[in-house]
Amino acid sequence: MKSSFLIKFILPILLVCLYCPFSQAHKIRIFAWEEDGIIKTETQFSGGRVAKNAAITVNNGNNKELLSGATDDQGIFNFTIPQAAKENRFDLNIVVNSGDGHKNSWHLSAADYLQGKDLPPPQKTTNERNSPVCVVDEEQLTRIIQSTLEKQLAPVKRSLAEQQDKKPSIQDILGGLGYIIGLAGITAYFKSKNINS
């Protein structure tokens, strides 16, 4: 009796669940960081599932749209820093909308993504072209160090950006339960007054 119940009832449901490509979530998360002149964004739902094909809009500080696009299969959307944003040092507001009622945004300030990007473009001197000995001046050295540092720091930047959006912790959960107990106490107190009177 029990096994037939399992086969007839629970198994089909589990199969439906396994084939169902969608699921629900509470919240969509987005985080963004700059890497080598490109702004990388990653989106995922609160359960950790990546948000595929979610609409991304990049606005400047005054909510004027600079560019838009959609995330790929890994929930990633990359774009080169728009020229207008570079020139005017706009703070970027990157908004993600998954279309099912979930929306979130990430604020990337100009200071964060333009750090060290104000060096003039490299100029080849006649001395450099003709001489067999490579002479590296201070500016070139800065550039080399900067590009190496950027490569090394990219994973750190990503992880820092990811951690800024914190997940529910055990303290949050216990705190919430504490509030519920407190509210129950208050309600019980007032309702008991009604009984007594």
Binding site: P21, Q24, H26, K27, G47, R49, G101, I180, L183, A184
Partner: protein, 201 residues
């Protein structure tokens, strides 16, 4: 099931707010001393249940427990869900203050509807009670997803596709909630029948 801030139109937000206000007022009026503990236990269940994600296939699902709340509490589901959603907003940043009314209505209104539809069956012993419990779990999720789809669709016609996807996405959950509500009610009827308040109502 938590709609974010800035998605819905102001008129819809206002409508949700009014419905939640009325529902909560009726719920608080109906909440008597004997049911305060039941209500707070279910608030805690609702508050925590949505944190437990069960990985299933490529995604994950979580329980809502709207059906169980509906059949046990009726109109009291409104204040219970309002408090739980408010705490989830404060602690976990789910949803938002402005959409709190709409989110509460989306989850509490189906619970109340289920109460009126299935409570008579629920009062009877045996199979009928199990069927009523399963239906409550099933229909509360179905009605919630319909309300959510309707809310998104009425704000922006472009959400039509997404609205259909939302309903499709909830299908597995409808069955799971139904089964879990059924087992919970059967278990409670055996060990703690007073929790179900079958005699008083």
């Amino acid at each position: 099931m938590h709609i974010s801030e800035g998605v819905l139109s102001p008129s819809l937000l206002a409508a949700g707010g009014v419905l939640t206000f009325v529902g909560t007022a009726i719920g608080l009026k109906k909440l008597d001393y004997d049911r305060v503990m039941n209500a707070s236990l279910l608030t805690a269940t609702f508050f925590v249940a949505s944190l437990i994600h069960v990985p299933l296939g490529p995604g994950s699902i979580h329980l809502i427990m709207g059906g169980l709340m509906g059949i046990l509490l009726g109109w009291i589901s409104f204040p219970v869900i309002l408090v739980a959603l408010f705490l989830q907003m404060v602690f976990f940043q789910y949803g938002g203050l402005i959409v709190l009314g709409v989110n509460t209505t989306i989850m509490a209104l189906p619970a109340v509807i289920c109460f009126y539809l299935f409570r008579p069956w629920f009062m009877q012993e045996g199979k009928k009670r199990q069927i009523a419990a399963f239906s409550c779990g099933f229909f509360s999720v179905l009605l919630s997803s319909l309300l959510m789809a309707l809310a998104l669709f009425s704000t922006d016609r472009g959400f039509f596709q997404a609205s259909l996807l939302i309903i499709a996405a909830q299908i597995p959950l409808m069955f799971i909630e139904g089964i879990i509500t059924m087992f919970t009610v059967t278990f409670l009827a055996k060990v703690q029948p007073e929790f179900l308040q079958i005699r008083e109502l």
